[in-house]
Amino acid sequence: MTLTADQVTALAPDPGSANNGKKTAKPGNWANLGRNDAAMWGQCKGSALYNVAVDMSDWTTKCSCPSRKFPCKHALGLLYLFAQSATAIPTAADPPDYAAKWLEGRQQKAEKKATKAAEPVDPKKAAKAAEKALETAAKRHQTILAGLDNFDLWMNDLIRNGLATIESEGPDFWDAQAGRLVDAQAGGLASRLRRLASITGSGPQWPAQILGELGRFAMLSHAYRRLDSLDEKLRDDVRQTVGININQAEVEARGEIVADQWHIVGQWIDDDDIRVTAQRSWLIGETTGRVALIVQYKPKNIGNARYPDIIAAGTTVTGELAFYPSAFPLRAIVKSRAATISISDNIRGFETIDAFLHGMTDAITKQPWIDRWGSLLKSVTPVVNADGDWVIADRDRSALPLLGRDHWRILALSGGHPVNLSGEWDGQFLRPLAVLYENRFTLLSSLV
């Protein structure tokens, strides 16, 4: 198992911690270092002697310092040290007491959770809870319907008056209507609506694009009113897209569980929303070839917030994913993990751009509101022309345009030779996420 400095930086809660971690990563600061297959540990000489341990199955860390950041700079220091040179940390059979106790504690918690889940449920309690749930759902349904009625009227007005009237409108225009949707408990639709602000007036295609997006919203509200006549799986999609969230337990209970070696091929942080940052990670299963998307949120106004789960890009996790119920299951959460190793060159991916695009076509055919598709493209070459336009070309010379104008780092890593590149496609542009070449995984975006 190896780790690169970039991957460690991706685990840091903020750039300041990453830097402090790097500073701590000097052998002189550490004592009693050790690691085995499951964990890593050491004592760090900070303003006092701190005990640090890392659970290598999911990179959870523990440190005796008072910091409320996870991982703290001492834990990051240990990880950076390991990234610099694995031999800096000698192998040992057993961890010292403080680490052993913590690992044992985690093991027990996980077991407890499993047994609790398997416990038989008290039927009376369950019945009451179910009734309550139905009541809430019914109320919510009415609220949403009312909200959609308003929204549809608003959209009709727009078309009646003409999109030209909104060309010069700022984000407030969209935010106002989005706010009303949020009040109507249709938060999913609200986020999608907000994104239209950046498309307005952005280029010669903007009217067609906006019209297309509004059209999709119309399709969604149309479908919502006909939920009962929809396929069960599609019903889930319409609900989720509108904004009816389901929790982890329900996903694991109702969603498809797929076990595989899941390669975490790309990741980026969507910072647009005012209140949350979203971490989007794309995975592909080695045996099943399934594509999965893991989205995690972190609130912006809370200082030491962290993502619920540690999804480390550039690693392969052997375990189970639970997919959100859908006509084309794409979004998932991690249900269980057995082992984590570094990603290598020969993993599964899309061999041609055609195959990649076909993947998205397949997805849209089954779930038409899917608007982004990401995975690993194998053996593609970055190309820039004299105008500064970037594309990625496969061995058949089919090319997809890249989002943005500064991809020199990718070109430097490729040298004009084909490399493996992960990216997120939105129908127009590919956002490049990571380069995998000669068994080296380089994440392109700055994280945190």
Partner: protein
């Protein structure tokens, strides 16, 4: 733009009526849905069309794929090196960046592809040159694709000690720095040929190049150069004009030189021996002087063994103006003294050696205590600069630094500049001797010895003896800083970074071994000066450690 979008843009209330269609099966589907309002129908059609389009994207096809980078010839630097280099390239510690680049080049390696864009994005010339040969084939290939990386595309030539066979070609087509190097060699080999080269391209060169190329004439200067120099006197650039005039002065047979000698010859008179009264007077004067500038502490003015008297010129001769002598004096200096200064400044100092049969040291120490000391000393220093009079550099440097308060306000920056220039021209051994003597003193003024401007000009790496003395001095001063409240013992954040890259390899271990008293102990108990010292010494030791790591990981 299709019909549907057009209609949506204008608005259905203004449209020509009728429902815009997509012309695909979508139309039938929407009709089946039985939607009443035209707007809603349009939206549904547009939405379906958009969904279909999203699933039907066809990629473009490139005609050809551009050729990849040529295969590399140099080995890639190991990951341990990349880890150390990356933060350096991202930061702004110039000296250390230059050192690291030189190390990698020395080791004959190239940087890893992941770091190439960072090297290509470097902005400062010195740093770029230090990293140029670490780019490898891929780096140069990348540079051809991005106009911002022009600097990396330039082909630099290795120019050794002797004139290469293709020297003329390099002069005609090469990079500016290479052209200068080859010109210098040509000048050494045959001044006449070098002169012809310069004359050929003179009119089309940029001012800064003209200045540099003209500067090469200082080597093997002779009467043959006079015609070209006279031509250069009419140059557009003031600096070039000034340099041409200075060079002409240095041609002993030139009319200008003869005129200048004539004008100055009678202004100074010298007699061996000092009267006892004068000695005592001058001694008292010296004691009152306040040493403000740090370098002053390095300067040692020997006691005078002769008497120098200056005669101030009575009137400003109109012919002087043609040769660049000005009438108006700078602030703090009398007019006549100013004329005296300029006239002395245009005569080769060795003229006085012959005339007075005295050594430079004797003349300067006498001048220092004379009545018109500022004018005479500064005048002599100008002459020393102009004529590159090597034997005079030491004594004049000492004198200038010791003038202190006596320097007229209006000449302060010129004197400072002259000191800087002379420091660069002074043989390093002389600077080192002065500095080491002062460091050994162990007094509080030791701190003042750590002067960045002096450190910057000494050739690197420093001699071990000197380096050890400086490190010992820093150790001692920093140890005392914990409790210091004196502002004057504030560390110089300019000189320590230079020390870190300038000391030779064999001294690194000593620094890393310590002890550094300032790094121990509870910081909360330190004075604020102590805090600053701890920070500076921490950075200092870190830089040394980085050097050590680079040397080890590069296998140097």
């Amino acid at each position: 733009m299709d019909e549907m979008t057009k209609l949506a843009l204008i608005g259905t209330s203004r449209g020509a009526g009728g429902h815009a269609k997509t012309g695909t099966p979508v139309d039938a589907l929407v009709e089946k849905a039985g939607v009443a309002e035209a707007e809603r129908a349009l939206l549904l059609r547009a939405g379906s069309a958009a969904m279909m389009a999203a699933g039907a994207v066809t990629p473009t096809t490139l005609d050809i794929l551009p050729p990849p980078a040529p295969p590399e010839t140099l080995p890639e630097c190991p990951p341990a090196v990349a880890t150390v280099i990356e933060p350096l390239l991202a930061g702004s510690e110039r000296e250390l960046q230059i050192l690291a680049g030189n190390y990698v080049q020395q080791a004959g390696m190239r940087v890893s592809p992941n770091l190439l864009t960072m090297v290509l994005d470097l902005r400062i010339n010195d740093v770029r040159e230090a990293w140029r040969h670490t780019l490898g084939e891929r780096g140069r290939w990348l540079a051809t694709l991005n106009p911002e990386w022009k600097w990396a595309r330039e082909i630099r030539v290795e120019i050794g000690e002797s004139l290469p066979a293709n020297a003329k070609q390099i002069w005609d087509e090469g990079h500016a720095n290479d052209r200068l190097a080859v010109l210098k060699l040509a000048r050494q080999a045959d001044p006449a040929v070098a002169r012809e080269w310069v004359r050929e391209t003179w009119k089309s060169e940029k001012a800064e190049n003209r200045l540099e190329f003209l500067g090469t004439f200082a080597e093997k200067l002779s009467a043959d150069d006079e015609p070209f120099l006279v031509e250069a006197l009419t140059d557009r650039s003031a600096n070039v004009k000034q340099l041409a005039a200075d060079l002409l002065l240095r041609v002993p047979t030139s009319a200008l030189a003869a005129r200048s000698r004539e004008r100055a010859a009678d202004l100074l008179a010298y007699q061996a021996g000092v009267t006892a009264k004068k000695k005592a007077e001058k001694g008292a004067k010296s004691a009152k002087k306040v040493r403000r500038r740090s370098l002053a502490n390095l300067a040692k003015m020997p006691a005078p063994t002769g008497t120098l008297t200056a005669t101030l010129p009575n009137a400003f001769d109109k012919t002087w103006a043609n040769d660049g002598i000005t009438d108006d004096a700078p602030v703090g200096l009398g007019k006549k003294s100013w004329w005296l200064l300029q006239l002395i400044g245009r005569v080769d100092p060795n003229f006085w050696v012959t005339k007075f049969n005295a050594t430079p040291t004797e003349i300067v120490s006498a001048a220092f205590v004379s009545d018109d000391a500022p004018a005479v000393v500064i005048g002599l220093s100008q002459a020393v600069r102009r004529f590159d009079a090597k034997a005079w550099i030491g004594p004049v440097w000492d004198a200038l630094n010791s003038l202190d308060d006596l320097v007229p306000n209006g000449l302060y920056s010129e004197v400072y500049e002259t000191i800087e220039t002379l420091t660069k021209q002074m043989p390093p051994a002389e600077i080192e001797t002065r500095m080491m003597a002062a460091l050994a003193g162990g007094n509080d003024e030791m701190l003042e010895m750590l002067d960045a401007s002096v450190f910057a000009v000494l050739p690197r790496p420093w001699r071990p003896e000197f380096a050890r003395a400086v490190v010992a001095g820093i150790r001692e001063i920093s140890a005392k800083a914990k409790d210091s409240r004196s502002y004057s013992s504030y560390p110089d954040s300019f000189s320590l970074p230079i020390v870190a890259v300038a000391i030779p390899r064999e001294c690194l271990a000593d620094v890393l071994a310590g002890p550094w008293a300032i790094l121990d102990g509870d910081e909360d108990k330190f004075s604020w000066v102590g805090h600053e010292w701890r920070r500076e010494i921490t950075k200092f030791v870190d830089r040394i450690r980085t050097r050590q790591t680079l040397l080890e990981t590069l296998g140097l």
